[in-house]
């Protein structure tokens, strides 16, 4: 793994004997104490994730009109203290990436998936949007869990939910990818030792990418490359709520046609009562409608298998059947989030 990129917390991960994996060209922590333990730290107390592999791109606000032409959400009318989840669309209305924007008075921080950082910076360049990729100069950690806000108060002023803030050292927002309250905090790499001291002193446990995945799945959140891709639109991914851009943007006509006709693929959430987990790629049927599992895993809170499946069209029935290694197993499409 010698030619992989490493984050400013790499030595910390090694010192913790974390299991490391390759992810999008980075050497990242998979788990420290075990996936379910880490999952439960975040659900019951607090945990932190090194997500410095994610792209961080600085864009001045004067670029906002052009930037708004590339995403399905309204960034222009967003308050300068807010964070926004959105999708960069292609001409087909499908997802180039799902991202978070942190908006400030003078600039925007765009946080994109590690796997799409090069694609997104090229896309910005091709659309004459001046930007600066600050991924390698900065770090990003997510502190998440019911105790996260109380614990971080000594470090920074807490913004409202889905709002941004900054001080001399930290640029941050009250956002995350776990379904819990918490903050995502960006800082220049030189401050990493100070941040690690703070996390250690407050007994905020390190959590790896494995628990990040079980947490996001349980929180009903999509993952790029699975529930969203250049073949899947935000409408299909059940993200109609983020389509707020009333101006022209790439793929808008396709997206509006999908909304108007309902003729498109559908990502649906499912649960099943079985000792088997439908993994990515498992074939599923709803009557005569075919689908394929995009993500599936065990929910530590619900203590059963959960996941997302992509159906070719609107599923005929909420009762679905998986073919798991030759065993036909019954599952259920659910409309509500996995966790209430």
């Amino acid at each position: 793994m010698n030619d992989l990129l490493t984050t400013s917390l790499f030595k910390f991960h090694q010192d913790q004997n974390s299991k490391m994996i390759e992810f999008a060209g980075w050497q990242m922590p998979f788990s420290y104490d075990g996936t379910i333990k880490e999952h439960n730290y975040v659900r019951t107390a607090s945990g932190f994730f090194d997500v410095s592999h994610m792209g961080r791109i600085y864009i001045e606000n004067k670029e906002i009109v052009n930037l708004n032409k590339l995403i399905c959400s309204d960034l222009i009318n967003l308050d300068n203290t807010k964070a926004l989840y959105s999708v960069f669309t292609n001409e087909e209305g499908n997802a180039l990436d799902d991202v978070i924007f942190w908006k400030f008075d003078s600039h925007i921080i765009l946080i994109c998936n590690a796997i799409n950082r090069v694609k997104i910076t090229r896309h910005l360049l091709n659309n004459n949007i001046t930007h600066k990729d600050v991924t390698f100069d900065t770090s990003l950690i997510a502190i998440q869990g019911p105790q996260a806000i109380e614990l971080t108060k000594q470090l920074l002023d807490t913004p409202e939910k889905f709002s941004t803030n900054h001080n001399e050292t930290f640029t941050y927002a009250r956002t995350g990818y776990t379904g819990e309250d918490g903050l995502e905090i960006m800082y220049e790499n030189q401050h990493t030792d100070k941040v690690i001291d703070f996390l250690n002193q407050n007994k905020i446990k390190p959590c790896g990418l494995a628990s990040r995945d079980t947490l996001r799945l349980e929180a009903s959140l999509p993952l790029y490359g699975f529930e969203l891709s250049e073949k899947i639109s935000p409408v299909e991914a059940n993200l109609k709520w983020i389509i707020t851009n009333t101006e022209e943007y790439l793929g808008k006509n396709k997206i509006e046609a999908q909304i108007a006709t309902g003729k498109h693929k559908y990502i649906k959430k499912f649960t099943l009562k079985s000792k088997r987990i439908p993994r990515t790629g498992t074939i599923v049927k709803s009557g005569t409608t075919s689908g394929v599992v995009t993500s599936g895993n065990y929910s530590p809170v619900l203590e059963k298998s959960i996941g997302f499946a992509l159906f070719d069209s609107l599923p005929e029935s909420d009762l679905i059947e998986f073919d798991i290694r030759g065993n036909l197993l019954e599952g259920q499409i659910i409309k509500k989030r996995f966790l209430s």
């Binding site: 788990s31 075990g34 996936t35 379910i36 494995a210 079980t214 000792k275 088997r276 987990i277 993994r279 895993n297 065990y298």
Partner: protein, 120 residues
């Protein structure tokens, strides 16, 4: 009871008279991550060497445990129904998976030392 022997598919077995106890190795449980479900065979099920006997679902992936030799299941570790994580915490002890009577003795598994060098 004989010393445990190991298979290339990461099961261990030990022999007591005409019976075997089977589990998965510490290395295997570590590779699987948190084990959340175990699908066990029924007492009386008959397997040939190499047949899949058990399905182990973990947060990271799914794995099967294979019969080390021809055998008939005589006992299953029903604790694993409610506490599959025992395989993570004690894979070579209380995390045993099945016991079976031997139909055709085939004690060709690796010793611990051989298995250690196999996985390293």
């Amino acid at each position: 009871m004989t010393d445990k022997k190991y298979l290339e598919t990461h099961e261990w077995y030990s022999i007591t008279e005409n019976n075997i106890t089977v589990g998965i190795s510490d290395f295997a449980q570590g590779e699987l991550g948190d084990i959340v479900f175990v699908t066990l065979p029924n007492v009386g099920d008959e397997f040939s060497k190499g047949d899949s006997m058990v399905e182990i679902e973990a947060t990271k992936t799914v794995a099967e445990a294979y019969a080390p030799m021809d055998c008939v299941i005589t006992e299953i570790n029903s604790e694993l129904d409610s506490q599959p994580e025992i395989i993570n915490s004690d894979p070579c002890g209380s995390g045993w998976i099945v016991k079976a009577s031997i139909n055709n003795l085939d004690d060709t598994g690796m010793t611990y030392q051989e298995y250690e060098s196999f996985i390293s």
